[in-house]
Symmetry: C2
Subunit: 242 residues, 2 copies
Amino acid sequence: MNEQNFSQLSQNKIPLPERAADQITQLILSRQLQSGDRLPNEFELGSQLGVGRGTIREAVKILVARNILTIKRGKGTFIARHPGEVEDPFGFAFYNDRLKLAYDLLEVRLQLEPWAASLAAERATDKDLAVIQEEAQAVESLIDSGVPHLEADTRFHTAIARSTQNMIILKVLPVISYSEDLFGTVNEDAIRRETVRGHRDIVKAICSHDANAARAAMEAHLDLNRRMIEKVGTRGRSPLSH
Amino acid sequence: MNEQNFSQLSQNKIPLPERAADQITQLILSRQLQSGDRLPNEFELGSQLGVGRGTIREAVKILVARNILTIKRGKGTFIARHPGEVEDPFGFAFYNDRLKLAYDLLEVRLQLEPWAASLAAERATDKDLAVIQEEAQAVESLIDSGVPHLEADTRFHTAIARSTQNMIILKVLPVISYSEDLFGTVNEDAIRRETVRGHRDIVKAICSHDANAARAAMEAHLDLNRRMIEKVGTRGRSPLSH
């Protein structure tokens, strides 16, 4: 609960639909409704919460906006696939100092991603390894054909994060990898070749369950990001103006 | 953009208010509107976006639910204080395996917080140090009077995170510290004494700008969490059932 909600609560000034939205969330949690489960209908919710259908409808809109509920037209209202998860949870899009944002993100990535790669080397199942190899291959194919590979690159890094078997790493890494978007797709040949080489080293280390090699390979790979950010920083232009 | 949004986009099936909400967000970003700035009025937004006032109103509700806008009654609609930031951005509340959640969170904290403490020791300004000391004192006073100290404890850790001068650390640490809530407020005397001792060691190390000591003190302090989680795990009950 953020500060504002808190003071609103103490003054009992929370608008009715907002309060109903919180109560519906509590109901979802207490009934342990799962992703894909249907929300009880407006009538049942209304009598449970003691509010009218108009309020329930407004509350549902709020929960859809928060990705807790999803509406399937003609089918009904359901618990969302990843309830409560949002795209840009820290509002990075609203940060003005893009270069500081890029530096700060990189500092945290350098602390987390090599460590995550070493955990992946220790814990990856055979199935995890197959996915990592597949995603690395997908990135290479795109690079070979000169097609943008950012999404495939993200899937590659996500496959590594998933192999740590730690769901928090799986959630946090994509968010702090936001920095990659700051530069758009880089099209320099040297960088593409280095990306392919870096990925191959990472895959090899993880597949041989060599934690130290995986850590070192990921560190070397991230160094590419560091140099790109520093290049932008030195030129003194915003990382966004690509 | 999540998968579902993406497929909706390709089918051009995004509901009109949702699309308007995204366009208003783009407008906020391109005009570099700041937290506290007033949103252009419905009429201007409507003619800019080519939609009616009803759609603008629905779009504003979506952006309020996402904490991008805030409505001050009788005053108007403004950019929120921390636009886009949400309380539980990864939807931890919806995770069923509370014990795995607690373990995974702790594993990431152990990787990040001692490092953050060492950065704080290196980078804290005199003003930062004063705040850290103040918050540590506040926690001690509450513990002495037997009053719940969870919120003060969070402020203490936040003061350290802020001293790293890295805004990503400042955003990420509170989210992964979610684990503390899993256990409610612990009321054992031994744990209270250990908390006070741990905080004192951390404050001393940071104030003498000793990065290694700060890292070690934070590691020792987090070990308390580890032992609490393991105790719960061994008893085989959910960390939530306190």
